[in-house]
């Protein structure tokens, strides 16, 4: 019996995923605009960006579901050609929002997906990996959103893939379900699986990913380990301030240690090196001008702040529940 188990020495030298000058167009729209990426075996790599940034298109190009219009693309050292069956059997795929048949049971679906792979996990073992073993007899329609998402993870895992693609694995989930998914992905990471995930939650990218690429409009704006990227902002804290009147430019300019000022509707965002040196003179200045403070919040700089400093826009769609509450009326 010829087992296709890859030699570990070989996989570590060849990047699990790589692309150079990758381009994908939909008519006039350039969804992926000359992307260069390299993901090492065993790495958890995140594509972070707002909706429509080209994250899903990039992942589907790697999955062999889309044909690139330009550039080179390799998965586990191979190009997509022919039916790609041999390569597919080494990958696990989770798509955004797959609707599984409501009338099938959890274990039946896992068994169905297991049947597509020559080698793999026992279906029950795949369910155990995602904490669904007690739901094995349940119908899909009886599952919560988070459980359905874990089922789709189990279906991606049941072939025991070398590379796992997770497209927005926690979008639309409640915080508890999100944390469960994170624990599963961390568990996979510890087992040496290569993971490519997309997300627009900076918290998720920072927690799970060894490296992230910040993408916007089909291009990579920054790439690196999350803490390195955040450090590149040159400041560690962000002050968010909401006032009843506009703050004069001169007041802000006179404050010490301010790296950047961004105004967004009624909110002013100050990127600062030390909060304790900025806040007292800031509040004094505001009361001098009789400007009322509606909200004052500070937090450590995040990938979100990096994205804002790179694009002038926020990563829309949440992930900032703790910070954005009350901002959207």
């Amino acid at each position: 019996m010829v087992s296709a188990a890859p030699a570990p020495a070989k996989t570590s030298s060849v990047p699990a995923l790589s692309c150079k000058g990758l381009v994908k167009r939909y008519g006039e729209l350039v969804a992926v605009d000359g992307l260069d990426l390299e993901v090492a075996a065993g790495e958890c790599f995140g594509l972070l960006g707002p909706n429509g940034a080209g994250k899903t298109t990039t992942v589907e190009l790697f999955e062999g579901l889309l044909q690139p219009d330009g550039g080179l693309l390799e998965v586990l050292g191979e190009r997509w050609q022919g039916d790609g069956q041999a390569l597919r059997s080494r990958l696990g795929v989770q798509l955004q929002e797959t609707r599984f048949p409501e009338k099938l049971r959890v274990i039946e679906l896992a068994t169905l997906f297991r049947s597509f792979y020559r080698d793999g996990l026992e279906p029950a073992a795949a369910l155990a990996l995602v904490g669904l073993e007690e739901k094995r007899k349940a119908f899909v329609r009886e599952l919560s959103g988070g459980q359905k998402q874990r089922l789709s993870l189990a279906c991606a895992l049941v072939g025991d893939p070398e590379v796992l693609f997770l497209d927005e694995p926690t979008t639309g989930l409640d915080p508890a379900s999100r944390r469960q998914i994170w624990e599963i992905v961390e568990n996979l990471k510890s087992r040496g699986r290569t993971v490519l995930l997309t997300t627009h939650y900076m918290e998720e990218a920072a927690r799970l990913c060894d490296r992230v690429a910040i993408v916007d409009r089909g291009r990579i704006l920054a790439i690196g380990a999350p803490e390195v990227l955040i450090a590149s902002l040159g400041a560690e804290h962000v002050i968010e301030l909401e006032t009843d009147r506009e703050i004069p430019e001169a007041l802000l300019a006179g404050l010490p240690g301010i790296e950047a000022v961004r105004r967004e509707e009624a909110t002013v965002r100050l990127t600062v090196r030390a909060v304790h040196r900025v806040v007292p003179p800031l509040l004094a200045g505001l009361s001098e001008h009789s400007i009322g403070v509606l909200r004052l919040a500070t937090h450590s700089a995040t990938l979100e702040d990096l994205f804002i400093s790179l694009t002038g826009r926020t990563l829309e769609g949440g992930g900032l529940a703790s910070e954005t509450s009350g901002k959207k009326k």
Binding site: S3, R99, F100, L104, R114, R118
Partner: protein, 358 residues
Amino acid sequence: MSAMADPGKPRSRRGPLQFPLAQLTLARLREFLREPEAVFWVFLFPLLLAIALGVAFRNRPPDPLPVGIESGPASAARLEALEASGTLVPQVLTRPEAEHALATGKLTLVVLATDPPTYWFDPTRPDSRLARLEVDQALEKAAGRTDHFEPQVLEMTERGARYIDFLVPGLLGMNLMGTGMWSIGFSLVQQRSGKLLKLFIASPMRRWQLLAAQVLARLVFLALEVSVLLGFAVVALDVPMRGSIAAVAAVAVLGALAFVGLGLLVASRPRTIEGVSGLMNLVMFPMWIFSGVFFSNERFPAVLQPFIQALPLTALNDSLRAVMLDGATLMSQGPELAILAGWGLIGFAGALKLFRWT
């Protein structure tokens, strides 16, 4: 070897029932059998329809014909003469009443108060033409005409000539068309809109296996569907089965495959249930009308016949009737079977070429 890389993660090989074709077919069967509505439409609905139509169109003695007599000097004598006939239900009424009753179809014919009588009726209505003959004979007899002879009558009530006998093969054909197309169309479009097809092709599943599983699942239901409907028809409705069971089965399988092919073709592009429903109805509508389910397709004019005969449901219905009612052999059904096979091939080939997976 591979187990070393990951302790605590049991790897396994597939068991006999764990191959993709078996699993895909099983999934399809399970989904269907857990859908009570689908079970109703496939198995119960044709039975109920057969019973209802069988009751509505049961053979019974001909209805007496309602006729009118315009009131006038001779109306009493005419009433007596028509009542004596036994096949007519006459009544006397005024001219305006008579006109209204005739126009609304409550009367088949009115005898006007002239001498000799005038028969007032719509010659395009078969009932009225019959009434004319009956009325004429009754009045002539009352006026003193003598018959040259008294004919003997032999009534024909043979099995196989009743309406229900005509109907059952037609219902079977219609059911094979409807369930074949709906079940395949809905399930594929649902899987497409739910991105399940996309997830399948991202896995190492081979594409033909998904389509083959649809066909296999369909054939399992077909066996159930045909035996339930035909069993009921033969046992409860006394419909004859003159050809061999094998010939009926062969025709049913080929017919089912033709509609599976068409179902795959129709379901190969749409992304929504609404879209595929519209297409399905567009494809099936002409066949409901022209293919002779409820009445013989020979009623349509000759210019339409080449089109009608080329429809798969026409071929299926004609062939089922020939085998069941006339005891025809499979060999004699060559042209019909060729039409069915042709539609099946067109459907499969077109679906393979056009199929949208994402």
